[in-house]
């Protein structure tokens, strides 16, 4: 306990000294003035090297510079106040409230702890928040045990991610992707990126990734594709093929939600739906039983009929 306390005390004192100084402090100045550096020159040196690494791992940037630029002097150190502190500029009470609500949107999962730390910093700005004045969100965010940090780091640095992915026939395939976006909808996390095998943007549901994700350096000349909107539905790609499906009035809202146009036919409505995946559209039609009837294309009709025949045979 005592050593823990001594070390923390020294690190805090070092931070204060490096923050308060206007010019770079040399190592000998630090050893002479900052409390806690004891022992032989070599011991102090090792202590200081480790302390620098430790502060950096806490996200504190230590600048290395020359004490006097005219001479090739001993290196000096300082911490810039503007880099050390949470710099959001002028911030109003409403804005603090919005940020607090954003942090509180996270559930108590591993990322929830991260959000709590952010909340603590927000509260330390010293501007009171008035969250009740904002019509609050009812939804919560949950990382579902997923490594969001790894994925977002990879997005920021255009790294390459390799992982095993469960495809729709339950086969596991290795995928290699440079991620460009992370989004969440309906409780699932989606990762979009440029698939390195196909050189196309693909979207993956993160919980279908099997095992750990490995990050490595991305391709040198990687350019983030423009015009990609991660807030749009997943695995969407432009399509020219459409299905015409009759749905009973007042029924099948999940098919209606996909429609780009609807035409009234009395007891039925005819909806036009872009075909992104023939199999999943077929199964959605089957879910609605006698309330949905495929008119076009023939391909989809045949697929539905195939399934129906199997259903009759298997259950008759």
């Amino acid at each position: 306990m005592h050593t823990v306390s001594r070390k923390s005390e020294r690190l805090v004192n070092l931070t204060i000294a490096l923050l308060a100084t206007k010019r770079y402090l040399t190592k000998s100045e630090i050893f002479n003035s900052v409390d806690g550096y004891e022992g032989t020159a070599e011991t102090k040196e090792r202590m200081f090297e480790r302390d620098k690494d430790d502060l950096r791992s806490l996200g504190i940037e230590i600048e290395v510079g020359s004490f006097d630029p005219l001479f090739n002097d001993e290196a000096g150190y300082k911490i810039k106040q503007e880099k050390y502190q949470f710099e959001l500029g002028d911030i109003s009470s409403t804005e603090v409230s919005l940020l607090s609500l954003a942090a509180e949107a996270w559930q108590e999962a591993s990322f929830g702890d991260v959000a709590q730390r952010a909340l603590l910093k927000l509260r330390s700005i010293g501007i009171p928040s008035d969250e009740l004045s904002i019509p609050a969100t009812v939804q919560k965010l949950n990382d579902g045990g997923q490594d969001l940090s790894l994925i977002t780091q990879a997005i920021a640095q255009s790294q390459r991610l390799a992982f095993a992915y469960l495809d729709s026939s339950l086969k596991i395939k290795m995928r290699s992707v440079v991620p460009i976006a992370l989004s969440t909808r309906n409780g699932f996390w989606y990762l979009s990126g440029v698939d390195q095998e196909f050189q196309e943007i693909r979207t993956f549901r993160v919980d279908r990734i099997n095992g750990p994700i490995a990050a490595s350096a991305g391709p040198k000349d990687f350019q983030t594709p423009t015009g990609f909107d991660s807030s749009k539905a997943p695995s969407e790609s432009p399509t020219n093929s459409f299905a015409l499906i009759d749905v009973r009035v007042g029924k099948a809202p999940s098919l209606r939600a996909l429609a780009i146009s609807t035409q009234s036919l009395g007891e039925w409505d005819q909806v036009k739906i872009p075909i992104l995946n023939l199999d999943s559209l077929c199964l959605l039609v089957l879910w609605h039983g006698p309330d949905a009837f495929v008119q076009e294309p023939a391909e989809l009709r045949e697929l539905v009929i195939d399934h129906l025949e199997a259903l009759v045979e298997n259950h008759g």
Partner: protein
């Protein structure tokens, strides 16, 4: 998941974060401070004692931080160097940007004032952590519903809702008294007393299509009605991801069977239909039969046109 850091470093981070927190909450009780930083009071006292020894080089009373906590209430002075909160980490920034995006989708579109501020904050945060604007969180709940539900929960009022039942594929209007939001399998449910069903029900929030706050009588009758459940025995013909996810099976093998519990026969029927040729329902026999009849009559329609 955030990187695990060692105990002395965790403590150092806490000491650095304590200074701005106390500076902006002068006179906070030791107990509350310990709770806020999620440590016990003994640890907090030890932290404050350590901080009390810290300050600018020289370490005379003039340079040391001036902490007072003997009364059980904490004040700090002479701590200007550390008085601003530390910069947010990459992960903290990500959490805030995603949280803001979720908030944006829950705020009514006529609140341009708030939406504009959210966008600005989000850009500033993304700039601080050097993150391209590539994160999005959306809620499938419409804003009118979202604000009516939070209003009802906050003020202890009832709600009139228009609810879409997926199994029956029907819209119904119900009067409910919402109790709390619960999360299951990634979806949010409003646990409520339903005056239409005269029983407790859970409503999936994204299927509530309209909501209006309404006064209701608060006496909730005690209910003892047990919901009956049904067991489906399902044989796998073709293992697919859709089957594994729908029936929550981690492993599927050809010709293997598994049992699945459900509260709704309609759900069972629709799920088997929507699995097509991939599975075969073995029991209950009456659902087997109705599937065969339904599939045959649908086939007849296709053959006729």
């Amino acid at each position: 998941m955030a990187k695990k850091i060692s105990a002395p470093l965790e403590r150092t981070a806490r000491l650095l974060d304590l200074v701005p927190y106390i500076s902006s909450h002068q006179g906070i009780s030791l107990k509350e401070l310990a709770q806020t930083f999620k440590v016990d009071q003994g640890q907090m006292t030890s932290d404050l004692t350590t901080l009390w020894m810290c300050g600018l080089p020289g370490y005379t009373p003039l340079e040391l931080m001036d902490l007072d906590f003997e009364s059980g209430f904490v004040t700090i002075h002479n701590a200007e160097t550390l008085s601003k909160p530390r910069a947010i980490s990459f992960d903290e920034g990500v959490a805030l940007v995603l949280g803001l995006d979720l908030l944006r989708s829950a705020i009514s579109p006529d609140r341009n004032d708030l939406l504009g501020r959210i966008d600005l904050l989000s850009q500033r945060l993304a700039g601080l952590i050097k993150l391209p604007s590539a994160l999005s969180a959306t809620t499938p709940v419409n804003q009118e519903v979202s604000s009516a539900v939070s209003e009802a929960l906050r003020s202890g009022m009832g709600l009139q809702i228009i609810y879409h039942s997926l199994y029956r594929d029907e819209l119904s209007t119900r009067i409910i008294f919402p109790i709390e939001m619960v999360e299951k399998d990634g979806h949010f449910y409003l646990s409520s007393y339903c005056y239409s069903a005269l029983d407790f029900r859970e409503f999936r929030v994204d299927r509530i299509q309209g909501a209006m706050v309404q006064a209701v009588q608060k006496e909730i009758p005690k209910s003892t009605i047990e919901q009956s459940s049904y067991t489906a025995t399902i044989k796998v013909l073709t293992p697919t991801r859709a089957i594994a996810e729908r029936f929550k099976q981690s492993e599927l093998a050809v010709n293997a069977t598994f049992d699945f519990e459900t509260y709704s026969l309609q759900w069972m029927e629709r799920s088997i239909m929507a699995s097509g040729r991939a599975v075969c329902l073995q029991s209950p026999p009456e659902v087997r039969k109705s599937i065969a009849v339904m599939a045959q009559s649908m086939l007849d329609c296709y053959k006729a046109s």
